[in-house]
Amino acid sequence: MENGLFSLQMMTKHKKYEKEFELSKAQISESSLEIVFFSINYTADISLNNTIIYRHSGGEYPFRVSLPRDILRSDRKNVLSVKLLYDLNSKNSIPQKQRFLFPQNHGGIVSDVFIHIKPDFYIAKENITPTFSSDYKNVSLQVESLIKNNKTILNTTGIGNANDYYLSVSVTDAAGNVIKELPRYNFTLDRNKDITITQKLELPGAVLWSPENHSSYILKQQLFKSDSLIDTKQKLISLFDLKSDREAILLNGKEFQLKGTIYYIGNETYGRLISYNQMEKDISLIKEAGFNSVRFAKSTIHPYYLALCEKYGLLAFLEIPINGVPQGIAGDESFINRSKEFLHNYISFYGEYSSFAAIGFGGTFLPQLEEHISLLSILAEAAKEKSSLLTYASFSNTNLVNIEKLDLYGIEFIKESAAISDEQIRELQNELGKGKVFFSAVTYPVYIGGSDGYLNEYSFEAQAKYYEEFFDYISQVKAPAFFINAFNDYFGDYSSFICSGSDRNLYRIGLLDETRSKNRISYKVVYSKLNNLEKVTIPIGSKKDDSPMIFIVFGLLLAIFMGVLVNSGRKFRDDASRALLRPYNFFSDVRDQRIISAAHSTLLGLIIAAVIALIVSNILFHLKTSLFFEHLLLAFASPALMKMANYLSWHPLMSLLWLTAFNIVMFIIIALVIKIASLFVKTRVYIISVYFTFIWAMLPVVLLIPVGIILYRVLFAGSINLYIYLGLIFVQLWVLYRLLKGIHVLFDSKPGTVYLYSIIFILALVGSVLFYFELKHSTIQYLLFAFKQFNI
């Protein structure tokens, strides 16, 4: 079948996938069989006819497994079983549980699976090393062919003279015309042995591959026995020399600027599953836009992308999908080993494709963390041992240090203009070399969508302006490479604030939308810059005030209700002034069952719940574009929490209503907790007294009504935010102090005892929540990392 029916495992659970297939006797005895998985996620035990043949230690990368001949059967169906566990965690899996702007990641069998049938005497692999003449006109290819003899005893007997094998190697152009052919290479090879044959092939006047001229050759290897063909292997090869010099990146000996974009595969319904047609369409669109390279970040890819890159003329940057790893995890031995294993498997499989130009080790590294530098050194060394690929890593700030065997140092910019860090960038260029420092991810998220001009932050127009300015800056600073993040909008697993409160986890950071429409002005600007076309005019527009009127209306309503309540009678005014100014006396009255109006208290409680909701809604609305806040929430690795925070931040009215209701429920719970605590004291405490104490202890909150009306505007101005947050913390502490005072009066206990137990209780509660999350998701480590990342 050729359909694209794949299983996507959404939850953590062991599942067993089984598939039956038939093989003939000849296929088993005269072939070498290999099963190829383009992607299974995450860990898997692979069994053939109830015998485990391979243990996949985790990761979506493609891999091959040999099918042992002795386990296969021809008299009945063979059963291939994959016992799969999809369980991403915060410490050891790649990618990790906390994934900022990662494309969707599903478990299961998420790409093609097939059996590759080769002869039993066959060319297992080849290693091609090109050497270029100094003028890049001639190429010398060193071809190492690994040949294996897997013949059975039965097939070996009666074979005659074992010395009459020979290997024929030739190079043809894409049309099949032979360009160069090596003389036949005779050799002998015993059963169950292998041989590596190294030959040199000269290609004078070879046409070198480049993004502008993406013509490739085909290396054809043929094995003969007594002039009868026993195996043919063909491989597409593109001849180019990409080097990182101190002053520039060189392609085929000439200075070359990598103009790239980051491509993510994140379909709403299918995740990373897309058809071959769609893959080709995307790659051709990237090429058509004028890019010459593509970075596949935060995800593994279908290897067909590499074939397409070769075909269309794009240099591919592939990387381990890790991002923002806390130092404790980055320094952990098991994480380092897993990363190395991942890297090893990456290079082994993807390394066969010529367009694979550079291997990356992930993003959001902090140069000030020793663990990050050490991890990168280890990975860079491992990569250089395995291949001659360029190595790169992406950092979230500019205080970079030299790392052995790391060729390229990427700097990430999100929202902020690169020009702001011009001084540091030029310093880095002096220190590390101009050819070493590049822009690995230049991102401008679109939170608000379309507007009338770029004066409105986070609009498509502002995104276009951001990229226009970035291109102007790039021409000044002469960076060897840059990658626009991203080529297209895509879907992720977590609800980011970039989703603007939508229940679709669509990350709007692309030049194109998720349907690949080219209508966005940012695409037009980038297209014109990449292709040296006429300047695209971006409308200026007028800055719109996004301050929600609902905060003012809601605040005024609360003020009116409070006014009505204050003027409802002298009793309330007296109670309020006593509660505020002489809380000890007031709480004594409550304890002694002096008359306090339940209606007044309840109305006051509702107003307090609403005022708290108003303040919190203001803060959430202000933080809706804060990356730091998003990272803090993400540390808890809870898609539900992210979704809720995203929804509340972007929907102020609903936030006010939901938070008011939530506060009322919380008031009831806290009152019940206090009542339960009263069981440990001798004094009899009535629930109604607890209720009154709790409500009236929170009285100072009503003073925040005017603050709630203007809070967003003040926070938006940004000049006194720290003082505002300190002021709000002060009010919280004041209320807490009043509550504890109320409790000790109510319980008739020593103040010190109540304070001590209350503080222990609060610390234990917060501590146990954090302990739980730390144990389950390493939350504290991620929280601390977020503080370091944002220099707070």
């Binding site: 794949f6 067993k16 058809s275």
Partner: protein, 73 residues
């Protein structure tokens, strides 16, 4: 009456637990539209006159790892 309430409470509890369990063992099978594996790209799939492939896409049976009840897709 009280017994009735208690019984329905227990029943709904069991149903909730069942639904919870079910939701945590969710597998979704998705058929990608327009999906056709490009076997004609013989260079990519390493298909020659001596080499071939057997596709194993689709129609896998899936079951919980410790369960005999299989689901065919």
């Amino acid at each position: 009456m009280l017994t009735f309430h208690f019984r329905s409470l227990v029943l709904s509890g069991i149903l909730t637990l069942f639904a919870f369990q079910f939701s945590f063992s969710q597998i979704v099978f998705r058929e990608v539209p327009d999906y056709k594996i490009r076997l004609m790209d013989s260079l990519f799939f390493d298909i020659t006159q001596t080499r071939s492939v057997i596709l194993l896409n689709g129609e896998w049976t899936v079951q919980p790892a410790d369960d005999d009840k299989a689901q065919k897709v």
